[in-house]
Assembly symmetry: C2
């Protein structure tokens, strides 16, 4: 591809969608990427920039001259520019902002003043609005009058004289109604507005729950300041899912295009925490060295109890974290969920204890050893089920993201309870 | 709430959105739910049914009489009816289908003939289409002619005389163009159609990637048969994420409203698999019983090496599974990703080995023991990193969902490698 022929490159890349070009840039090796950009940077437009992964965006922006950058960003809607700019360093931000037309620059600066991850950052300031007393004819004439309209819009927001949104009309209803119909009479029944400081995850979940396509955003004075569209909500939801899944695994953030050092920075802290909790488990075992010395088979069997608990705990935990994220687990049903998990843990524990206890009796010929491992397994699976729900609920209560820290706590509980109950029971029963 | 007063209940529930009523039904206890349904079943409409969790839907549908059911479903679009019906047993399906008007029934039956999770199941058959030679005026007159239009639509699909889609026009463009403009001239540049048998996950990811709002679906003869809208794509994406996150944790499927028995059925198989792999690890340990007998401190330290490997493996694995799901990890960059993970594993291993080895020397006063645990940790973290990428890649290659089975394989590798390298090195070096 990068055979130093800009024209052939143009011919190849031009028919591609911006998202595909961004994917291409993410997948090729860093040196190929630099070569490609050097040849083809004139072709990089704003859409490609906004599709790029954050870690690459800075690299690509630095490769562009201010003039190329200005050309690239001027066609974007304000929400895309905000998204592009918010993760850049101060210098990069200033460079992009300077490249924008004045009106857009003000809108972007205003959006950047809202808290990170707020509806204000997510919205675009380009809104199609109309006074609520207009007729369909007024609206159509207004739309045809040659004003600049957003690229994509699906509703006309009706506002009162103080710019407060009072309803919205789908374009489909406008098109299928007579010119003399009043906009107010054909507006949708259900109508939701968001506040600029609403958390973007909540906004995205409301889009999904209520099947919204776009929704107006108001400021403290209830005035219409922008609109959020479903494609942005979908992206937010996707990012939140990604965060949840990566955090559950103890991977801070992580894109495949991150460098080795960034990746280590994201993962090492959790491994260090795990080192501490594994040390705790090792300490519990070391208290029973006498018991192990007397019956060394215990050393081989004890990881089974701990590992089963860890697995069962992760199961409860994942369901609980996911349910907290989707707001399916709330205070009103928490006790019912805890009771259910406890029942599941106890029953799974009893079934598996029968199997494991039976196998142990067969292999080691000792009913006592089989009984000890079976009892320890039941205790640990019950502990795992309870920890799997209690830990995320407690973390949520004290304001920590349950996806981030639960895993370590839960496996600490199951390791400690597993080793302690097995070796403790063995000490009492077998020695 | 359920104080046997249907009128008060009406007053309470009527202003709520269908999604909120469905949430309420999911969160209250089963006996409260039955009482509420008995009192208020006349109020259950199709929208509430389609918002309900699958496990509850059947229960609610059974509580309704055929007449109530007919009333409930007749206002739904065909894609919602398909979604409602596909998980019911044959009897329930027949009941709902019988309640539909003939034209809708045929459309639903046709959709049900497409494979599960295909675009054909996801689409609605209600499409607004227009011949490509029409002008904006023709289209507006057509839309105003009083034909039944879908509740929500965002594009008019242009078709040729053989019903093949050739482009689409956003309603915003129609509204802002003059009556004599040709539809063909104002159609969107980028235009994607899906085939009825496309996999719905691929469709949903294409919606997200290309920021689509709606897209036409064609059959084998390239004829327009329906349209998929973004809200359905968003739901699919959400379901796929949920599946990924739950499968990674070894929880088959799982909703909080599932019964204890259903939950056990989902989780027990993975615990049984884990019992097998934990048994393998126990077997490895049992081969070194002589070594442990000679130096019982090894029993306390060995779970640290295995647990660190398990954590690091889960980290690589989660990133890889997620990247496979989003198509960020492909054959073309697989080797680069593997090399990166190996580098991360090696470096994390070296850093943590220094810490753990140092602590061991301090606590046990043995340089040899510190060296053994440090070396085992490096080996296991490298193995974890490689297994974390290789296992999901291999599973994907042979057509198994990597989210479903990777975790067990990876922790088996890290347990076996961890115990074997630590105890093996200890046997060679320390005895």
């Amino acid at each position: 591809v990068a055979a130093r022929d800009p024209l052939a490159l143009d011919a190849l890349l031009d028919p591609l969608h911006a998202a595909d070009i961004a994917d291409l840039l993410e997948q090729i090796a860093p040196n190929e990427r630099r070569a490609l950009l050097a040849l083809w940077k004139g072709g990089v437009d704003g859409e490609i920039l906004s599709e790029l992964d954050e870690s690459l965006r800075e690299e690509v922006i630095e490769a562009l001259s201010p003039g190329e950058l200005a050309l690239a960003v001027q066609d974007l809607e304000t929400d895309d520019v905000v998204d592009l700019v918010e993760d850049l360093d101060a210098e990069g931000q200033a460079e992009v902002l300077a490249a924008l037309p004045a009106a857009d620059r003000i809108a972007v600066e205003k959006a950047l003043a809202y808290p990170e991850y707020s509806a204000g950052r997510l919205m675009q300031s380009e809104v199609v609005r109309a006074p609520s007393h207009w007729t369909v004819g007024d609206a159509i004439d207004f739309l045809r009058s040659g004003i600049t309209l957003p690229d994509q819009f699906y509703h006309v927001v009706l506002v009162d004289p103080r710019l407060k949104p009072v309803g919205y009309v789908t374009l489909g209803r406008i098109l299928s109604s007579r010119r003399d119909a009043r906009m107010r009479d054909i507006s949708e029944d259900s109508f939701r507005t968001f506040h600029v400081e609403d958390e973007q995850g909540d906004v995205a979940r409301a889009f999904e729950k209520y099947h919204l396509i776009s929704a107006p955003v108001v400021d403290d004075d209830d005035r219409l300041v922008g609109v959020i569209t479903i494609d942005d909500a979908m992206t937010v939801l996707d990012e939140e899912h990604e965060e949840d899944i990566l955090r559950l695994a103890g991977v801070g953030e992580g894109a495949l295009s991150d460098s080795v050092l960034d990746t280590i920075r994201g993962r090492l802290p959790w491994l260090v925490v795990n080192l501490g909790t594994a040390g705790l488990a090792a300490f519990v075992i070391s208290r029973f060295e006498g018991t192990i010395q007397a019956l060394v088979a215990l050393a081989a069997l004890m990881p089974i109890v701990a590992s089963m608990g860890g697995n069962a705990g992760t199961q409860s935990l994942t369901v609980a974290v996911r349910a907290l994220a989707t707001r399916d687990l709330t205070r009103s049903n928490a006790w019912r969920v805890i009771r259910r998990e406890a029942a599941v843990g106890l029953l799974n524990g009893l079934i598996l204890a029968l199997v494991l206890g039976g196998l142990t009796v067969l292999l080691f010929g000792s009913w006592a050893l089989g009984g000890v491992i079976a009892a320890a397994l039941v205790i640990n699976l019950l502990a795992a089920a309870l920890a799997g729900v209690f830990v995320p609920l407690l973390l949520e209560r004290i304001g920590v993201d349950p996806a981030l820290a639960s895993g370590t706590f839960v496996t600490t509980v199951t390791d400690v309870v597993g080793f302690f109950s097995f070796l403790g029971l063995a000490t009492v029963v077998l020695l």
